[in-house]
């Protein structure tokens, strides 16, 4: 009986020592250089080698992660968030604080402002329609309203407003990832500074046609008249190709431009409502 115990101990002892020695020497002998960060990250990982992350083991995960240099899409189920945090810390990948940005839709051509001139019947995608023609309205620059941008947003921050036929950004959900900017074939969405108290002023139009043509197709088009540029005390507005553009790095949110725009193409969002707005609208009618 006793020798069973003895042999048990001896066998395991031998194996253990063998393991230690062999591993040590093999590791010495067959050393290969690799990014030291890989093994550092690997150390932090649970070594469960479960493959749950979709990579071949913790090492594969570490390698892919170090190579990618970016935490996006990497997650270890076993270790959970704490492990991922420490990995991010080790790699110095903690997202540095940036100026908060938000997506804005630079088109106000709602169904009322911009009457339909034809009916589109292809695959309901902006890219498809844009490749074919100008779109269902007379404006060949504006939003096509088929929601490619909505489809790509992973944060549910965009939605199509059925009344206007335009996408709307939920400023609290938008992470300024820029996916929608890439997706829009008309270049309508732009990432702009979120602004103090979420206040922003921008030209909600991208129509580069001459004034008359632009106005004919859409009530609220920028006609490139230049009044805003003249009114801006900070030189933040530039007119190019019959279109005004407000540089958000220069804009001080004074809203002088909003007041002078004859078509109402300039939008000021999240400002407290002031009676001035009404005069503004009267102005439009007067013209």
């Amino acid at each position: 009986m006793e020798d069973v115990l003895l042999s048990t101990v001896l066998v395991l002892l031998a194996l253990g020592v063998l393991a230690a020695v062999l591993l040590y020497f093999v590791a010495q002998k067959f050393k290969v250089y690799e990014d030291p960060r890989i093994s550092e990250v690997e150390e932090l990982l649970p070594s469960a080698n479960c493959g749950g992350c979709g990579y071949p083991g913790c090492k594969g995960f570490a390698e892919a992660l170090v190579k990618a240099g970016d935490m996006k899409g990497f997650f270890c189920n076993v270790g959970g968030q704490p492990v991922m945090d420490s990995v991010a810390e080790k790699l110095g990948l903690v997202a540095e604080a940036k100026e908060p940005m938000v997506a804005v839709v630079r088109c106000a051509g709602s169904c009322e402002n911009r009457p339909k001139t034809n009916t589109y019947e292809g695959v309901k995608k902006c890219t498809v329609a844009a490749a074919l023609y100008a779109g269902e309205t007379g404006c060949s620059f504006g939003c096509l309203g088929m929601g490619d941008c909505v489809d790509v947003c992973q944060f549910d921050a965009l939605s199509m407003n059925p009344l206007t036929g335009l996408p709307e950004v939920d400023q609290d959900k938008c992470t300024a990832c820029g996916k929608c900017v890439e997706a829009c074939p008309k270049g309508i969405i732009e990432l702009r500074k979120k602004g103090v108290k979420n206040r922003r002023v921008f030209v909600s139009c991208v129509n580069k046609a001459k004034g008359a043509l632009a106005k004919k197709s859409c009530e609220v088009a920028c006609i490139g008249c230049g009044l805003c540029a003249k009114a801006c005390p900070f030189g933040a507005i530039e007119i190019k190709n019959n279109l005004a553009y407000i540089d958000y790095t220069k804009c001080k949110l004074c809203r002088k431009c909003v007041a002078v725009c004859p078509t109402g193409a300039i939008q000021a969002v999240n400002f407290p409502i002031i009676p001035k707005k009404e005069t503004n609208e009267n102005d439009v009618k007067a013209i």
Binding site: V4, S7, T8, V11, L12, L15, G16, L18, A19, L22, L23, V26, A27, F30, K31, V32, A48, N49, C50, G51, G52, C53, G54, P56, G57, C58, K59, G60, E63
Partner: protein
């Protein structure tokens, strides 16, 4: 047991993943793409064949003579872990390309049930050395076949529009279930 029976039996009838339920974690984990699943399959075949030899040697030359068969679990896992780690280190040095194709899957294999499970089953069956190798290799091939089929199915499902609630893991597992059901057709072949 004849070799034919061992081979057909382990590849189809008692498929290691679909019928014995071993190695499910890598089966679910490394089956996103057919190409990766092939690499994984290759690595499993290699490790299983190799470890079956060592396991058999330990069982027959050490554990049985000393009458300490109860130490199977500990010794086998230690040996397998050590073996795999060494192969990985050596492969990385000697053949980086082979390492890229197969080696990167090695760590994943150490700690999955399939290798240890097969080791335990083969000593339980008291196979000869050659039978052990045949058994282990056939099981690994069975694993690879199941894995590659499954990866193909997953690639396809990825492109179709599964219901939101089923997307991802649930529909994959369901597919594994139906695949297992299809494999039951082989029941009774040996």
């Amino acid at each position: 047991m004849g070799y034919m029976e061992i081979i057909i039996g382990s590849i189809f009838v008692n498929n290691i993943v679909l019928s014995r339920f071993l190695g499910i974690c890598p089966f679910l984990g490394v089956s996103n793409k057919v190409s990766t699943s092939l690499g994984m399959g290759g690595a499993v075949i290699f490790v299983m064949a190799l470890s079956s030899v060592f396991v058999w040697l330990i069982q027959d030359l050490v554990l049985i003579p000393l009458g300490i068969e109860y130490m199977q679990t500990i010794t086998f896992i230690l040996v397998i872990a050590m073996l795999v780690q060494m192969v990985e280190i050596i492969l990385k040095k000697l053949s980086p390309s082979l390492y890229q194709a197969l080696g990167i899957f090695l760590p994943l294999i150490t700690t999955n049930c399939a290798v240890l499970g097969v080791a335990l089953i083969l000593v339980q069956n008291e196979f000869t050395l050659l039978q052990s190798i045949a058994f282990a290799t056939a099981n690994a091939i069975g694993f690879t076949i199941a894995l590659v089929l499954f990866a193909g199915l997953r690639e396809r499902i990825e492109l179709s529009n599964a219901p939101t609630a089923m997307k991802g893991v649930p529909v994959s597992i369901l597919t594994a279930g139906l695949l297992a059901m299809a494999f039951m057709g082989f029941a009774g072949l040996v």
